[in-house]
């Protein structure tokens, strides 16, 4: 049974995503904070574009940089890292319009409730990001199919 991903607008500059995972929080946290695991799901391997590099220093004050090549980089700073329950980071590739993302992992025994909130500095910044998202719709529409074929072949780190 697949767990549901719920997306809610909390205000004109915040969006919140909620999802349950069938594993204890420390494992979900691990998959989120170790680069070799992170890149397996953030950009699934069989997707045409793969990450050229994925540097993540997941601790308070640390930085990250995900590079697709051709100058397409995502980067920022970890404002707060509290294993295994909370990571807060900045998204600085958009300059001053960048959002701050907070992800929390709430341990529910065998399950983890993941809550991810993205807050933009202004509603204009939020809409700009939303507009840009439109451009990537087709790319990500293919993802569902690809994930099916990914299946059991997910490699070990």
């Amino acid at each position: 049974m697949k767990n549901r991903t719920i997306v809610e607008r909390r205000s004109d500059r915040e969006v919140v995503v909620t999802r349950t995972f069938d594993a204890p929080a420390y494992l979900v946290f691990e998959a989120w904070s170790r680069p070799e695991l992170f890149k397996q799901w953030w950009v699934p391997q069989s997707l045409g574009t793969t990450l050229q590099s994925c540097e993540m220093d997941v601790r308070t004050g640390g930085t990250y940089r995900l590079s697709f090549g051709e100058g397409m980089d995502f980067f920022g700073r970890y404002i707060e890292v509290s294993p295994p329950s909370r990571i807060v980071w900045t998204n600085e590739e958009s300059g001053e319009n960048g959002s701050v993302t907070t992800v929390t992992f709430e341990d529910k025994g065998d399950q983890t409730l993941l809550v991810m909130s993205e807050v933009y500095p202004s509603k204009e910044a939020f809409e700009a990001a939303g507009g840009a998202e439109n451009a990537t719709v087709e790319t990500f529409a293919q993802l569902d199919e690809l994930l099916v074929t990914l299946g059991p072949s997910v490699t070990r780190s």
Partner: protein, 129 residues
Amino acid sequence: MCYTLNRMVQYAHQSRLATSFAALSDATRRGVLEQLGRGDASITDLASRFHMSLTGMKKHVAVLEQAGLVTTEKVGRVRTCTLGLHRLDEETAWIQRYRQNWDARFEALDKVVEELKRKARVDGRKSRK
């Protein structure tokens, strides 16, 4: 890190979208839209259904109307509210895309986590650094 792949793209309906999202941020107004999705209703109907004063409901409807999510028409003494379908579709589509993107990622994350779980069992929980 979150989908600003094409940062230069400008969205044509930015301010419209903002007004709509603000309108949708209230639970009662979302309920009103849901109700109108099932059929037109007068403000009096809506007020009683949501246990609210007529004045309170008028305010909510005004916000929805301003955002273009609802249209109203006064016939005699009754003001009937109708869903502004097109605009609602635009909102829903935005949220839907965002949801799909993260849903796809989380499915992949499920698999990574599943693998970690298997490993943790095999290693008798020695797997953490």
